[in-house]
Subunit: 313 residues, 2 copies
């Protein structure tokens, strides 16, 4: 099960009711924060989401509208008594940016760990306990005017458990759960591996967060079949396509065309320019290409289950 | 005429509806921003106040809740096309803090000028044109747990203009206004100085902004007879007095007692701890000592005239 909440859906300049870029993904009580624009900590509080459950911050790039909420969020985590390490990842340049942020924030009662994600993905349980073993975060090289990366979160799903096989192996019911969760167990001196009682792996969940980017083939590939693609749509109609290209952004139609090509289940648009006071009104520009498009807004939340997904707001 | 607006009234951690410390003073179309906590630029926009009219930022100290809105505000000023210099002042340590902020903000299309205010006050028209000649900003050494200063803004008022004297000197009406504004004029080869047509200087306006401080005698002295004292009241009742002393803050009663001793016209309380979800309910703790106390909230505004003052919200 994954919960995803847009915390801020504005680009460049925050507006009342539209904070700057940030989104929170939660899974089994742990969270990843994607980007951290000014206003992120206020948005977390408004949505009743705890900053202390965030053990991973994934930055798409280092423009201010994705970053300037970080000094305050770090200080607040410190005020709340955080002691557990916080892992941060981002494209090239992270160490330099973080040294400025850390100097501004001053001494913190917890460790900042900087990570460069391997292309094949990073198992999140290696950063903090509590993450499912099958939760993976992958970087996606994107096409902005500075070093940038999007992210793909994948939550794998084990094969179906076969109680008949378990009984045949003489496994007591108390050992079923670890096996279902992918752990080997020992019974009467013998090791039993999960694959002995599970069917073939089933389709899991995947979610892609674009960060800032022009239409990008690597992102399209990573988003193939995703349950949710959160894609920037800084600019609106085709009359802004030139602007979008100049600044390394996408229009509503470009984001929707990419979603259609990737065959995602649903698309959320976000990161709206202040020149778009009512992005909702432009939704048809996207739905023409991909009907399952939703116009993002601060606080938009979805819960994705293995079996079904249900929008909460 | 002075307009004063509280942009953020929270301490340490922002809450929905209560941004971090910032206040805007406007006079004759120019503005001073006092402190710049996270959320300041959003609050300016909500109050329909232009960041481009700010040519002076006066920081009380460098804790994050007074500072972390600055990188974003500077970038936004740049986006809005600002070219005119921006002057910043603060207690000792400004250069070091600003170097971090400037490195985060990246190149800006305008100059940042750092200023150490002289104790006798700085005439604001020296920083930017448009300020009245008689507008002065004075630093007040305050008592926090780091280097800190409050501010006193004084707007002087010329003596009463005497049209009889002006006519006797043969001055055409077109020259009356410059004289009323304190400028000398020439008429038929002779210089006429303002004091030849003006009575003795009259009482002007003064406004004091405390920043973070324990009850402070220098602040009390500077606030003597002020039209408005904006004083921090981080903590509420007497049961929090020990906390207030430990962290260099004031309680509701302490702020009100100081206002009473200073004989100010009115007191606004601000900078409320997150432990005070409803500061309004604590107002009697202050009004007991100083009836003209108002509990600050984001967006509270007043217009102070030479003749009268009127609260707008």
């Amino acid at each position: 099960m994954i919960d995803m909440t847009l915390l801020g859906t504005g680009a460049t300049v925050p507006l009342p009711g539209r904070a700057l870029s940030a989104a929170l993904l939660s899974c089994q009580g742990r969270s990843i924060l994607f980007d951290c624009g000014e206003g992120t900590q206020t948005a977390l509080r408004r949505e009743h989401l705890s900053p202390l459950k965030i053990d991973f911050i994934a930055l798409s790039h280092y423009h201010g509208d994705h970053l300037f909420g970080l000094p305050g969020l770090l200080q607040t985590m410190g005020c709340l008594g955080r002691e557990s390490p916080l892992t941060l990842c981002g494209p090239k340049g992270l160490r330099q940016v973080l040294s400025l942020i850390a100097a501004l924030s001053g001494p913190l009662p917890f460790e900042l760990r900087l990570l460069s994600l391997p292309p094949e993905g990073f198992p999140l349980h290696q950063a903090a306990s509590g993450w499912p073993e099958r939760a993976l975060l992958l970087p996606i090289p994107t096409e902005h005017r500075v070093n940038s990366q999007g992210y793909c979160f994948r939550l794998g799903r084990a094969g179906k458990f076969d109680p008949e096989k378990a009984r045949a192996l003489g496994l007591p019911q108390s050992l079923w759960r670890p096996l279902q969760q992918g752990q080997s167990v020992r019974v009467r001196g013998r090791e039993v591996r999960p694959e002995q009682v599970l069917g073939p792996p089933r389709r899991g969940l995947s979610l892609v967060f674009s960060g800032d980017t022009a239409p990008c083939s690597a992102l399209e590939k990573a988003a193939r079949g995703a349950d949710l693609l959160v894609h920037e749509a800084t600019y609106g109609g085709p009359e802004q396509a030139e602007l979008a290209a100049e600044y390394g952004h996408s229009t509503f139609a470009q984001a929707a065309e990419l979603a259609a090509r990737a065959g995602v289940k649903r698309l959320w648009l976000t990161h709206f320019s202040q020149t778009l006071p009512e992005p909702e009104a432009l939704l048809p520009l996207a739905q023409e290409h991909f009907p399952e498009t939703v116009c993002g807004h601060d606080g938009l939340t979805i819960r994705l289950n293995f079996e079904e997904s249900r929008e909460k707001s």
